[in-house]
């Protein structure tokens, strides 16, 4: 089986990285190669990392309330850079009402607080295809 590479990114000034790190560790233990950006990434930096690291998926953790801006920007920039086919997923404190508009804009999966890790894993595998 091919070893998937996933980028886990933390955008903006927010320091809440517990979720991002748990997901990174969990995906690594589940056989993925994980590239973790660390904190304080701009959407441009996230997309650049996705390109340089040739990842199969991009995961973004947002607990700052900036999810509408961040996900929209990343998806748009990825299209502009010609890597629009790489699936984008994410999680954090994202109110349910904000999820459908983001999915329409091209985000492939958004996980709310309390989603079981196995469910996240299955979904990531599915969107990578």
């Amino acid at each position: 089986m091919k070893k998937y590479r996933v980028l886990i990114a933390k955008p903006g000034l927010d320091g809440h990285d517990r979720g991002a790190k748990v997901i990174a560790k969990f995906l690594q233990e589940s056989g993925f190669e994980v590239v973790y950006t660390g904190l304080h990434q701009t959407p441009e930096q996230i997309v650049t990392s996705a390109l340089q690291e040739a990842v199969d998926a991009v995961g973004i953790s947002v607990l700052s309330g900036s999810h509408n801006y961040v996900f929209t920007e990343v998806v748009e920039l990825m299209k502009a850079k010609g890597i629009g086919e790489i699936p984008v997923f994410g999680g954090g404190t994202i109110p349910e009402d904000d999820i459908p508009p983001l999915m329409e804009k091209g985000v492939k999966a958004l996980f709310r607080p309390g989603t079981p890790l196995d469910e996240i894993l299955a979904k990531i595998k599915e969107i990578i295809g």
Binding site: G12, L13, D14, G15, H16, D17, R18, A20, K21, V22, A24, K25, F26, Q28, V34, Y36, T37, G38, L39, H40, T42, S64, G65, S66, H67, N68, Y69, V70, T93, I94, P95, E96, D97, R112, P113, G114, P116, L117, D118
Partner: protein, 554 residues
């Protein structure tokens, strides 16, 4: 009954009970607290073999302060009900403060948005989408004047949750007081200003560890001389716990941070009894009820011992561990959000039985957003019901003498002592942070916790058990994206309406002072009075101290 007799009887009862387990097994083979402490079937006096009332507990207001720091505790007055609050613009948050004060809240607590916490202006590239979202946007004295408009600063005490940029926010607050005609000796409150836990817990750091501790000591020195009622630091375990630590780690790392600050202040030449009475603490109240109570009691006892034995403090107030508590944000669930009211109620009860000085109760909608006015009212009412209706505030430290609670308090203290020894061996907390020690301990604990939730070993109602087929949505607070645009406009306007030559001179003085190593508080105050922006002040310091970057390990 003699001790030996009791021991025999106790052993006989255990083996008899064990024998009956074949027929009637218990729910689990092993029982553990949320943080992994073994919990026995029954506690008796045999679990407290060295129990000495005066040595272990003493009287409230007396060493080692296990039972509380004041002699009357809540019979004198209730804890301060202090809801952490801030969103959108200074105008909106000012309205929320007035609402909370009108509804019986007794102290203010400011939540700043991320750009303020990180010492950049609202027009910074990384601030996009975050302005006013997780707290109130404060870019300069001008926002601070609006934030406290109509709130007399000699009548309320204010807690400000801000760390590396804390000296600048304190300077803004003191300048607002000046403008209100309130002298600094009448101003009371707290800045969190606890820089070290930023590197391994909250992650809102700006400059490196050593420099951040230097700046903390500047504020301690300044407040001791000029703002006698101010608490210049709130040594915080809350964020450590929220980042995924156990209760033992929360306690140990918090006190180890405190030790680092006391050492740094003594090294500056300050007398321990001149500053230690102004130190304050901040803990999390998580779901495991008795474990949390034990943590609060152990914290008081252990800190008193550290101050007396390790630092030779003479003033009993230097040995006081006074603390604020917030119920655990990370225990809230997005699923069946009304259940969070119940969780918060139990957590608040543990904080009160643990003897907290002030309390924030989370709102039921906070797993998803900042609270609505309705949700925050329920949270405040939770405290008011606890204080006024349940009777738990009528006597001091009511769980003292419980075999279970005393044994847990001892276990909690012992675990913390071992961690602190390990940190001492590494060369203290600054060196431990450099070595990534608390970071990796927290990572390990949060991973273990998550796995126990996944297996169902740790039950979270509504999440991995008793899941609802269909959930009814609750209304959530939305912060308008317009706040960002207006805040950026206000920055432009502030720059046009100030004496920019004076501001530049103030920023030069900040850089010069940072280079010389002198106390930075006066130059920061000068810059604030000239409406220098927070980002300008902090980045002037970064120019000398350098910036700390996330090592990005997991």
């Amino acid at each position: 009954m003699k001790r030996d007799q009791l021991k025999q009887k106790s052993a006989a009862w255990e083996s008899e009970t064990e024998a009956g387990l074949k027929k009637r097994p218990e729910r689990k083979e092993e029982f553990q607290s949320l943080s992994g402490l073994d919990i026995k079937r029954l506690y008796t006096p045999t679990d407290l073999p060295d129990f000495d009332y005066e040595k272990n507990l003493g009287f409230p207001g007396e060493y080692p302060f296990t039972r509380g720091v004041q002699s009357t505790m809540y019979r004198g007055r209730f804890w301060t009900m202090r809801q952490f609050s801030g969103f959108g613009s200074a105008e909106e948050t000012n309205q929320r403060y007035k609402y909370l004060l009108a509804n019986g809240q007794t102290g203010l607590s400011v939540a700043f948005h991320f750009p303020t916490l990180k010492g950049v202006n609202s027009d910074h590239q990384l601030a996009r989408g975050e302005v006013g979202k997780c707290g109130v946007a404060i870019d300069s004295l001008r926002d601070m004047e609006i934030l406290f408009d109509g709130i007399p600063l000699d009548k309320v005490t204010t807690s400000m949750t801000v760390n590396h940029p804390a000296p600048a926010l304190l300077a803004m607050y003191l300048t607002v007081a000046e403008k209100q005609g309130v002298s600094w000796d009448k101003v009371g409150g707290t800045i969190q200003n606890d820089p070290l836990k930023e590197f391994f817990a909250q992650k809102s750091y700006i400059w490196p560890p050593r420099e951040s501790v230097k700046l903390l000591v500047d504020t301690m020195e300044f407040c001791a001389k000029n703002v006698p009622q101010w608490h210049p630091v709130s040594i915080s375990g809350y964020h450590i716990r929220e980042a995924g630590s156990t209760a033992q780690q929360e306690l140990a790392f918090t006190l180890a941070d405190g030790i680092a600050y006391v050492e740094a202040a003594i090294e500056r030449g300050m007398d321990v009894d001149s500053f230690a009475p102004h130190l304050s603490f901040f803990f999390d109240a998580h779901m495991d009820f008795f474990e949390e109570i034990a943590k609060f009691r152990a914290a008081r006892r252990l800190w008193a011992k550290i101050m007396k034995e390790r630092f030779g403090a003479k003033n009993p107030k230097s040995m006081w561990l006074r603390f604020h508590t917030q119920t655990a944000g990370c225990s809230l669930t997005a699923q069946q959000p009304l259940n969070n009211i119940v969780r918060t109620g139990y957590e608040a009860l543990s904080a009160v039985l643990g003897g907290t000085q002030s309390l924030h109760t989370n709102s039921f909608d906070e797993a998803e957003a900042l609270p609505t006015e309705e949700a925050v009212t329920v949270a405040l009412r939770t405290q008011q019901i606890l204080a006024n209706e349940t009777g738990v505030a009528n006597t001091i430290d009511p769980l003292a003498g419980s075999y279970h609670v005393e044994a847990l308090t001892d276990a909690m203290e012992q675990a913390a002592v071992e961690y602190i020894q390990k940190i001492d061996d590494l060369g203290g907390m600054v060196a431990a942070v450099d070595a990534g020690y608390p970071q990796s301990e927290i990572m390990r604990a949060s991973m273990e916790y998550q796995k126990s939730v996944e297996t169902g070993e740790e039950v979270i109602v509504g999440v991995n058990k008793y899941i609802a087929e269909k959930e009814s949505p609750i209304p959530l607070l939305k912060v308008d994206d317009e706040v960002e645009r207006r805040q950026i406009e206000r920055i432009e306007d502030t720059k046009l309406n100030r004496d920019n030559a004076k501001v530049d001179a103030c920023l030069d003085r900040i850089r010069d002072t940072a280079r010389s190593g002198d106390n930075l508080m006066e130059p920061i105050l000068e810059a604030v009075r000239e409406y220098a922006l927070l980002g300008e002040i902090c980045q002037s310091i970064v120019a000398v101290y350098g910036a700390y970057e996330d090592p990005a390990v997991f």
